[in-house]
Amino acid sequence: MTRWAMVADLRRCVGCQTCTAACRHTNATPPEVQWRRVLDMEFGTYPDVQRVFVPVGCQHCDEPPCMDVCPTTATKKRDDGIVTIDYDLCIGCAYCSVACPYQARYKTDRATFAYGADPTTSEALRHDDRRLAVATKCTFCVDRIDAGLAQGLTPGVDAAATPACVNACIADALAFGDTDDPHSNVSQLLENNQHFRMHEVLGTGPGFHYLWDTKREDSQ
């Protein structure tokens, strides 16, 4: 089996938002929508403070709450773990949005563009009316993955088959691959580092892992 997953190294992310920009450009999302978002968090009090940049988005859960609640079956999970939305089935009830513990879903009722009322050339070419007034979210660039696999490429290794945010990351903080393959890049990262998944207590089984330290002898 294959389980596509994302790994974000919190030690490496510098919060440059290049992944966000790459996602926006690749998927032609409206200005107010960020399928790949980077949170800027600060913790502690002076002088013991720490700033953390946290890439977030759809976690492509093993047990997606958004899929269970969807009344239309528009939200589905593929065998490879990618959670998809059928824009032609979705009625835009936003039930999935309130069910998602990761605030990963968006609904925009009107077309908006980066520079005023008129779309740029790129936006005009890539605008899709089907995505208006329905739920949208990160797709793990599923079209790139499928097209790459059809050409015999390896997602996470070959750029043409890899999500745009991973390709764009300047710090090598984002990695993508198959966690069911023990030799894959992401499996090796998870093997050699301490990691967690967000809101794991909810039992959603996110497909998005965060590295926070190297594996040490005394680490659990």
């Binding site: 977030v56 089935l89 009830c93 513990p101």
Partner: protein, 287 residues
């Protein structure tokens, strides 16, 4: 442990979604209470029709909220896991049974009452299944929504029928349901205390106070005055009607707040901070 950006109020569902839970809950409760009362004739027909109107108004509110209203029938596509689909399946059954019992087939009223209970149960499960909202996903949410529906519905029943005949048995049932609503609310409030954001709890507080004092204590006092025989019959009926109105109004206020003010998400959580360079002396989060 959990820390990160503060949770914020969800903005996906607004007053229109609240309208479904307010009107749908009270309407289904009214139909269930009418079925429970065993009345016939106009005393059966009027509340049944009023209940249907309320449920219909709630569903209209949902229809106004969805982004693609012309695809509304797609809501029937996922009965396997979605409580919204199940609610949609129950609604026409509820309408058919309530209409039939109002139109001269009172034998169907108990079935209409059961369908109304099922409708209210679906509404509770809709909220409980929303795992992104701590104040909704509590296991006590469904019992709360169902008891709210029954208390509010029986209150509306008294408002409509208390002047027509002696409603002492229904008034007693109403009192018990109002008490049950308050007890379940307390259990629900305790259950969400740890998971919900402090700002969510603060937003919910006024509606909770209203529900307990104006929606429970005061109506029970009015009810006691009405059924004790101290008040004249017409005054007693008026007191029951007022008690029913207060229960329905405070229930509506509570649900409105629950959807539009107290529905904070849980933000983002990092159980560990990244270790850069020299490891920190402690791995505990600093705040």
């Amino acid at each position: 442990m959990s820390f990160g950006p503060n949770p914020w109020q969800q903005t996906n569902w607004d007053w229109r979604a609240a309208g479904n839970f307010i009107c749908g809950g009270a309407g289904s409760g009214l139909i269930a209470a009418t079925a429970l009362s065993g009345v016939q004739g106009n005393m059966l027909a009027l509340p049944m029709l009023a209940g249907m109107a309320l449920v219909g108004t709630g569903l209209l509110c949902v229809w106004l909220e969805i982004g693609r209203p012309l695809r509304a029938l797609h809501v029937f596509f996922n009965p396997r896991t979605s409580w919204m689909t199940r609610e949609a399946f129950v609604a026409p059954i509820l309408f058919a049974l309530a209409l039939a019992s109002a139109a001269g087939l009172p034998a169907l009223a108990p079935l209409a009452g059961l369908a109304a209970l099922a409708f209210a149960y679906c509404q509770g499960r809709i909220l409980q299944a929303a795992r992104g909202i701590p104040s909704w996903r509590s296991r006590a949410t469904t019992p709360l929504i169902v008891t709210c529906a029954l208390a509010e519905g029986s209150g509306l029943y008294l408002l409509l029928n208390t002047w027509s005949s002696d409603q002492t048995p229904m008034a007693v049932a109403f009192g018990l349901l109002v008490l049950a609503r308050a007890l379940v609310w307390r259990a629900w409030r305790r259950d969400i205390a740890d998971g919900a954001a402090p700002r969510a709890l603060a937003a919910l507080a006024p509606s909770g106070k209203a529900l307990i004092w104006i929606g429970t204590a005061l109506p029970l006092l009015l009810l006691a005055l009405a059924v004790s025989g101290i008040a004249a019959p017409m005054l007693g009926a008026s007191l029951l009607a007022l008690a029913g109105t207060l229960v329905a109004a405070t229930g509506a206020f509570f649900k409105f707040v629950l959807i539009t003010r107290g529905a904070f998400n849980q933000g983002f959580a990092l159980p560990h901070l990244p270790v850069r360079g020299v490891p920190r002396a402690t791995n505990k989060p600093i705040n």
